[in-house]
C-alpha cells in the first residue's frame, strides 16, 4: 500500500514539473519578430521590403491600375472591364484597389520596422546607412503609389506593434513631404552603383524624386517643383554612365539585354524559380488570341494570350504619326507567321499554309474587301480588329519560359529607364516655361527612335525627320511622346492624372470609357475595408468624393 501512495505522489510530482515545460511553445520553423532586430534579420527585412514591389509590378493588378482605362489601352476580351468602363463597379470594394492598398502598407510597415529598429541593430555604420536609405527609398515608392492613386492617405512612420484600429487621412502635402524626405535621405546615402544589381542606388533615387516633384508640381503648377524635377532628371542624364541605346527595341531585349545602359531601376525577376516568386506575368496580358486563327497555334515566341489589354485605335493607328518613327513596329506585333501548317478556310476559300507563311496581318490602315479577299492570310484592318484579335505589345514577351503555358516570367520589370528621364526633364522644363530647354531632350529621344534605313543616309534622314521644334511642344505633345516611347510601361494612368488629361483623353480616344469617365476618377476610391475597419468608419476615414 505504501508503494501505491508513493507512486501516486510521484505522478503528482512529474505532472507538475512537466506542466510548465510542456506549455511553452516550441517554435522552430517559424520566425519570431525579434529576428528583424538582429544584423542578419535586418538585412533580410530590407530584402522583404523590395519584394512587395513585385506585388504590383509584374502582376495583372499593376497593369489594370495603370494602362487600362486610358487613351493608351482599352479592355481586351479577357479583361476586367471595370477599369476601363468607369462604371460604379469601379468602387470601394474593387479587389485590386484593396490589394494595392494593403500590399503598399505591408511594404510600408516593413520599411517602418527597419527604420525604427535600425538604431539598435548592431551592424556596420555605412552598411546600415545604405540599407536604411534603401528602406526609405522603398517606403517613398509605396507612398508615392498610394498618394497618386488615392490622394490623402494614412501616414505612418512607425512599426505597427499591436492591433491598431485607428487611421486618418493625412493631407496630400504631408505625404509628399515624407516622400521627399525619404528620397533626399536616399540620395544622400545610397551608393552610385551596387554590387547587387537591382538594389536602389543614388541615380534611381534621383529619378524617383524627379518624378515626385514633377507630379507634385502638377497639383498646383508649382514652378519650383518643376525646376527641381528638371535638375534631378538632368543629373541622372548627365552625371552617370547611362545613355540611350541606339536601337529602341534593344531596351527590351531579354536576358542580359535587360540590364542595359538605359535601365536605372528595375523590379527584379529571375530564372531561379526559388527566388522568382509568382514571376513577372506581364507577358500574358497584351497578347490577343492569335492562336485560334488559321495556321496558328500557341507557341513560346508569340506567348500565351490572356487578351487583357487592347491598344486603343489612337494608340494602334494614329499616335505613331511620323513615318520615320521606328517605334510603332518595335512596339506592336502585327504579323504572325504560320506555325501550324495545313489547309484552312481563309477569306472565304481554302488556303494551304506552309510553316513560316504569313498567317495573320493587322495593318494600321483600312483595306477594301477586294484587297482582303486577295490575301492568303487572315487580315484584320482597324475596322475588323476586335477585343479578341488586335496588335500585340511585344516588349514584355518572355520566350525563355519553360513552356508556352507557363505563367511566371523571368524578365525584370523595368521601372525607371533613361528614356523616361528625358521625358521628365522635357516635361518639367516645358511646364516651367522653358520649351527651348526642353527641346533637346525630346529631340535626342526622338532621333534615337528613328527607323533604321537601308542606308546610313536614309537613317540620318529619318533621324532628322523625327525632330520637332520648340513651337510644337505642348503638354499634348509630351503625352503623345510618352505614349510612343513608354507604350504599356505602367505609366499612362498617372501621366493623365498628373497632367489632368484623364477625362479629356479617355473621352477622345477610349470609346468604352468615354461615357462614364468623370473628374472624380482622377482619384481611386478608398477601399471600403479600410473605412469599415477604422474606428469611426466614414467619418474618420472619409471616402474620396464621387464614390
Amino acid at each position: 500500500m505504501k508503494n501505491i501512495y508513493l507512486s501516486l505522489l510521484l505522478f503528482a510530482v512529474i505532472a507538475f514539473s512537466a506542466c510548465k515545460k510542456e506549455l511553452v511553445e516550441d517554435a522552430r520553423s517559424q520566425v519570431t519578430d525579434n529576428y528583424l532586430s538582429t544584423p542578419d534579420g535586418f538585412q533580410t527585412g530590407v530584402n522583404a521590403a523590395y519584394s512587395y514591389m513585385r506585388e504590383f509590378y509584374g502582376l495583372e493588378i499593376g497593369s489594370n491600375l495603370s494602362v487600362q482605362g486610358t487613351d493608351e489601352y482599352t479592355a481586351g476580351s479577357g479583361a476586367d472591364r471595370d477599369f476601363t468602363t468607369y462604371t460604379s463597379n469601379l468602387g470601394p470594394t474593387k479587389g485590386n484597389l484593396t490589394t494595392v492598398w494593403t500590399n503598399s502598407y505591408i511594404g510600408i510597415n516593413t520599411c517602418n520596422a527597419l527604420i525604427n529598429r535600425a538604431p539598435d541593430v548592431a551592424i556596420e555604420a555605412t552598411l546600415k546607412n545604405t540599407r536604411l536609405a534603401e528602406a526609405r527609398f522603398l517606403r517613398s515608392q509605396y507612398y508615392f503609389l498610394l498618394v497618386q492613386m488615392f490622394g490623402a492617405v494614412h501616414l505612418t512612420t512607425t512599426e505597427t506593434k499591436g492591433a491598431v484600429t485607428t487611421a486618418a487621412r493625412a493631407p496630400v502635402a504631408d505625404v509628399y513631404k515624407l516622400i521627399i524626405e525619404d528620397l533626399d535621405f536616399a540620395i544622400a546615402n545610397l551608393p552610385v552603383t551596387s554590387t547587387n544589381y537591382g538594389r536602389a542606388i543614388k541615380p534611381a533615387a534621383e529619378h524617383a524624386l524627379a518624378k515626385v516633384y514633377l507630379t507634385r508640381a502638377g497639383i498646383a503648377n508649382d514652378a519650383a517643383d518643376y525646376t527641381k524635377a528638371a535638375e534631378l532628371a538632368k543629373s541622372v542624364i548627365n552625371n552617370y554612365t547611362y545613355r540611350l541605346l541606339d536601337n529602341f527595341s534593344d531596351v527590351f531585349a531579354q536576358g542580359t539585354g535587360e540590364r542595359n545602359n538605359e535601365v536605372i531601376f528595375s523590379i527584379q525577376y529571375s530564372n531561379n524559380v526559388l527566388t522568382n516568386g509568382m514571376g513577372n506575368k506581364t507577358h500574358l496580358y497584351f497578347q490577343s488570341a492569335y492562336d485560334v486563327q488559321p495556321g496558328m497555334q500557341r507557341d513560346l515566341a508569340n506567348g500565351r494570350p490572356f487578351s487583357r489589354y487592347r491598344p486603343t485605335p489612337y494608340n494602334a493607328n494614329q499616335v505613331y504619326n511620323n513615318p520615320a518613327d521606328g517605334r510603332s513596329d518595335k512596339t506592336f506585333k502585327r504579323v504572325y507567321f504560320c506555325n501550324r501548317p495545313g489547309t484552312y478556310a481563309i477569306n472565304g476559300r481554302q488556303v494551304t499554309l506552309k510553316l513560316g507563311d504569313t498567317a495573320i496581318y493587322m495593318p494600321p490602315f483600312e483595306m477594301t474587301a477586294a484587297q482582303i479577299a486577295a490575301k492568303n492570310y487572315s487580315v484584320f484592318p482597324p475596322s475588323r480588329v476586335s477585343d479578341t484579335m488586335y496588335p500585340a505589345l511585344t516588349k514584355f514577351l518572355d520566350p525563355t519560359r519553360r513552356d508556352s503555358n507557363d505563367e511566371p516570367g523571368y524578365r525584370d520589370f523595368i521601372l525607371f529607364r533613361l528614356g523616361e528621364t528625358y521625358l521628365i526633364a522635357a516635361e518639367a522644363l516645358l511646364m516651367s516655361g522653358r520649351p527651348a530647354e526642353a527641346l533637346p531632350f525630346i529631340n535626342t529621344l526622338r532621333r534615337r527612335a528613328a527607323k533604321t534605313g537601308a542606308t546610313a543616309a536614309e537613317t540620318a534622314a529619318n533621324k532628322t525627320a523625327m525632330e520637332v521644334t520648340a513651337a510644337q511642344l505642348n503638354i499634348d505633345f509630351i503625352l503623345d511622346e510618352r505614349m510612343r516611347e513608354l507604350n504599356g510601361e505602367h505609366q499612362r494612368w498617372y501621366d493623365l492624372v498628373r497632367t489632368k488629361q484623364l477625362v479629356n483623353r479617355v473621352k477622345l480616344y477610349n470609346a468604352l470609357g468615354a461615357p462614364n469617365v468623370k473628374d472624380f476618377h482622377m482619384l481611386r476610391p478608398i477601399p471600403q475595408s479600410q473605412i469599415d475597419a477604422t474606428d469611426g468608419g466614414n467619418s474618420s476615414f472619409p471616402q474620396n468624393p464621387g464614390y
Binding site: M1, I4, A15, A18, E22, L23, E25, D26, A27, R28, S29, Q30, D33, Y35, L36, G41, T44, N47, A48, A49, Y50, S51, Y52, S88, T93, W101, T102, Y105, I106, I108, N109, A113, H154, T156, E159, T160, K161, G162, A163, A167, S194, N196, Y197, G198, Q268, N272, V273, L274, T275, N276, G277, Q297, A345, R402, S404, N405, D406, S529, A533, T534
Partner: protein, 1105 residues
Amino acid sequence: MYRFYTEFSCIYKRSTIHKFLLTMKLLCMLMFVSVMHVSASGFAQMVNLTKNRAPMKEIIHDIQLQTGYSFIISSDLLKQANLVTINAKNATFKEALDQCFFGQPFDYVINNKTIVVKKKALFFSPANKIQQSTIKGKVMDEKGLAIPGVNISVKGTQTGTATDNDGNYTLTTASGKDILIFSLIGMTTQEVPVNNRKEISIVLKEAQTGLDEVVVVGYGTQAKKDITGAITSVKDRDLHERPVTNFVQALQGKAAGVYVTTSNSANNGNEPGSNPTILIRGKRSINGGNDPLYVVDGIPITGGINDINNDDIVSMDILKDASATAIYGSRGANGVVIITTKRGKTGPATVSYNTYAAIGVVNRFINVMDGAQFAEYKREARRAAGTYLDSDPEADSKLFEPVELASIANGTSTDWQRLFLKNEFRQNHELNVNGGTEKTKYSISFGFLDDKGYNPNLTLRRYSTRVNIDQDLGTRFKVGVSMLASFTQANNANSFNNTLTANPLAVPYDAAGNLIFTPTREALQPNPLADLVDGAVISRNKRLRVLSSFYGEAKIIDGLTLRTNFGPDLVENRSGSYFGSNSTARNLGQSTASVGEDFTMNYTWENILTYKKTIAKKHRIDLTGLYSISSRTLEATGANAQGLPLESFEYYNIGAANTITGINSSYEKWSILSYMGRANYSFDDRFLATLTIRADGSSRFGADHKWGYFPSAALGWNVMNESFMKSVTALSNLKARISYGKTGNTGIAPYGTQGLLSRTQYDYGGTDAFGYRPSQLRNDDLRWESTSSLNLGVDFGLFNNRISGAVEIYKTKTKDLLMDKVLPSSGGFTKVQQNVGSTENKGIEFSVSTQNILPKTKDGFSWSTDLNLSATKERITELSQGKIDNVANLQFIGEPITVYYEYKKLGIWQTGQEAEAAKYSSAVGQVRLQDTDGNGIINANDRVILGTQLPDYTGGVTNRFTFKRFSFSALVIFNQGNMFQSQLYTSGNNTMTLGGRYNNLNVNYWTPQNPTNDFPRPNYNGTPLFSNTFTYFDGSFVKIKNLSLGYDFSEELAKKMAAKSFRVYASVQDPFTFAPYVKDYNGTDPEIPGRPSLITYTLGLNISF
C-alpha cells in the same frame, strides 16, 4: 448469501443469461403483476428450521445459510412480510419454503440456485383453476438455449406463470382464444394467440435497448439507466451492414444529431477513402473548426480516420451535450465520438472471417452536351456575338475544324465520360481470432481492403492489424494493450473534370488507334484519356500508422481503482507525385514531380483514479479524477521539381530534374495538460446527478490564458422507479434528464499568439534575396472559444420497450469565437486573431426504435424500425465588429454560419423587354435579377440570402425484417431544406461558361426561338452576366442508402463446413435518390454534384469457426 436488489450488481458469475435474470427480475416484478406459479420439484435438500414469529429477513438468512440458495427480494416487499412461525425438521427445501411463504403477500420462484420473491396476484385463487385447459411449452433464446424465469401471462387477466430452469412452463388459461404474453426484462416481449393449442414454444429475442446496456462515456462506462447526458450509441450491426471504408461513412443516417455528408466542394464522396464531413448538432465555430473529437479505446486521436478498420469497431458512442463532453474540456465543444474496438472474451478461441466484394456501377453521368448539341451551341454562341450568319453557306466550315465537320457530317459524338470511367471494384477481408481465459483475453484481427475507384488513378489499399490483450495479474492488478497498425497506399489523381469540357466532336484515337494528345486546335484541351495512360499521372500516398494504448489498472482498496493509460500514436506519411509531359496537367510542358514526407508523433498519458461506493444502500457514488498530458509533434519535408529527364524516375530521383522548384521542411508541436474530476451520484436509483470539471492548459495560448476551465452539471430522474409509476403498465421506461455545462474549442493553430515574420522572395540580379517581414501581430490575449449548452432529454420505453427512444432538446451559446478581427490595413496588417463574436445553436433530436412485429416462433416474421430525426438551427449573434454583418465574409447577424448571399435570379430577359433590360444594364437573353430594393439599379444592395448549407432537418430510418433464416434491412436517409452551390455551374469549372468554346452542361439555354427562363443565351463574347446566380440548388434529398439481404445457414449446414455459423448477404448501396437536383436539373447527386453517381452492389460472407 442474500442480497437486496438495490445492491445486487455483482453477485454472480455464471452464464450470461443467468446474470441477466438476477439483474432484471425485480424490476420485472414491479412492472407486471402476475401470478407466479412455483415449480420447484426436484429439491431434495433437507432443512431444519424452528422459529416463532421471526422476521422474514431472519428466515431468509437462515435458509440461505443452510442451503446455499440465494434470495432476491425487494426491500419494499420485505417490509410487507408477516412474521413467520415455522417448525421444520428434515423438511424438504420446498416444504420449508411453502411453510415460510404461507400467508405471505408474496410468492416465490426458484431458478437454479436463486429464489426470486414476487408479489402475489390479487385475484388468484385455486378455485379459478378448475375448468381451465392447460398449455405447456418451452421458451428459448435465439441460440436455442432455454430461458428460465420468463413471465407468461394471459392477456387481460391476472393469470400467469414463469418458466422453470429448463425454460419449460405450464399454464392454465380460461379459453383457447386467449393471448399469452411472454415477457422478461431485457428481452423483447411477445404476444402469442393460443388458438386452441396445447403446446406453445417460442423464441424470445434480446431487446435492443436494455436498460442495463453499458454505454461508454469518457474515461469509463456507465449503465444506460445511470446516464444523465445526451449520448447516442451506434452498435455493431448498424456499423457493419454497409460496405464503407471508414467509420464516419458508417454513421450516416444512424444517429440523431449527427450529420454526415460529403463536402460539396470536395466532390470526392465516391472516391475511395473519402472523408465525409461530420457535424454533431450543427456548427458553433466560424473559424475554429467543427470537427468532433475522436477517441479510440480511450486515446483521443487527430486525423486519419481511414487508418481505422471499421470491422474492428464494436461500438461508437457519440457524446453530444455538455454533461457528456465537458470531461473532454477544450476538445469537447463539437461533440465526442468514442470508438471501442473488439476485445477478447472468455472462452475457446473463435475464428471469424468476414469478407465482401463490391462493384460500383455508374448510374448517372454528368449531363453534358453530345456532339450535335455542342455543334448547335457553338453556333448559337457565335450567332449571339454576330459572327455566325445562318445565311452564309460557308458558316459551318468557317466555324468548325475538319474533325468537327466530319463528326457533324457522320452524326458521331465522343462520350468522354464513358471512355474515362470504369466500374469501381472493392474487396474487404477481415480475419479475427477472439478468446481467452478468466485471466487472459485476446482479440487479434487482420484486415485487408482494396478499393479500385472509378478511374485507374483512384485506388486505396489498406492492410491493418489489431491486437487487443487484457491480462489479470492476481486479483488486484490488470494490464492490457490495444494496438492498431495500418498501412495504406492510395493513389488519388482525379482529372475527371476534363471529360466534361472535352469537345464531343473530337475523336480520341487516330486511325491507327493511337491516342491523339491534342484532339482539336484548342491548345488548352488535351485528350482527357491521356491521364489514363500508364505512368502519365502518379499521385501516391503511403501511410503507416501505429496507434496503441497500453493500460495498467490497480484496485488499491475496495472500490478505489487507479488506471494509467499510455497511448503513443505514430504516423508516417509519404506522398509522391509525377505528372508526365503527356499528362493533361502538364499539357506537353515539362514533367513535374514532388515528394513529401511527414512524421507525426502523438502521445497521450492519462492517470485515472476512480472510486465507487454504495452508502446506506441507497446512495451510490462514483468518483473519477484524471490527470493527463497530450502532445503532438509534426515534422514535415518536401521537394518539388520540374523537368525530369527520365519518365521512369517518377518522383524517385528528383535531384536529377532540370529545376528544383521548391524545397521545404517544417516543425509543429502542441501540448495539452489536463485535470478532470467527475462525481456521479445516484439516490435510490431514482435521482441521478453528475458533476464534472476539467481544466485544460494548452501550449497554443498566451502565458496569461493558457488554462481554461470547463464545468458541467446534470440531473436525471428515473421516473419509472417511483412507486407511483408502478400502476402505469404501458410504460416500461421513463427518465428525464437535464444538463448544463461549458466546453471549449482550442480553435487556433500552434504559434497563433506569437508575433511572426513571413518569408519573402526576391533576387538581386541573380543573387537570391530571401527576406522576412512582419506578418502576424503578437497577441497574448487569445483564449479559448467556449460553448455553454443546455440539454433536456427524456428517455422512454413503452409496452415493455417495444417502443423505446429518446427526445433531446438543446441550446448552445458559443462565445469568444476565435476570429480574425479586421484591421484597417493601413497598419500593415489586415487582421488579427481575437476572441470576438458569438453564435447560438438550438435544436431537437428524436430517436425511436420500435418492434413492429415480433416473431411468433423461432422462424417467425419480425419487423423492427429505428428512426432518428434531428433539426438544428444555428445563428450568428455577434461578429468582429459587434452586431454588424460582415458582408465581405458572408457572415450575417441572426443567420446561420454558412449562407449563400447572392443576387436572386428571376428568369431571363425576353424578347420585347429590351428597354427594361437595358435599364438594369442587362440585355435580352441574360439573367434577369430581382431588384430587391426596387430602386431601378442592380447593385450590391440587391443581394439576398438565398439559403443555407445546413438542412432544416435530417435523419435516417432503418427497417429490419427477419423471416426464417433471412434477414433484410433497408436504410433510408434524408435531409431537407439545405442549399448548395454546384461547382459544375461556377465559372472556375469551365463546365458552364456558355461561351461556345468548351463543352457545356446540357442546359436549357435561351435562344430567340427558345424563350426559356432557365439559363441565359450562350455568347462567344463572354460568359453570361451574373452567372453566379444559377449555381445554387436545393440540396434536399431522400436516399435509399442501402438495402441488404442476408441468409444464416442452419447450424447443421454450418457444421458441414466445420463452422459455427455461416452467413451470406447481398446489398445494394445508393440504389435510389429522390432529389430536386436530380429530378429537375439532371444532376447526379446533391451530395456529390460534380461527379458521376454510383450504385454499389455487394456480396458478403460472415463465417465463424
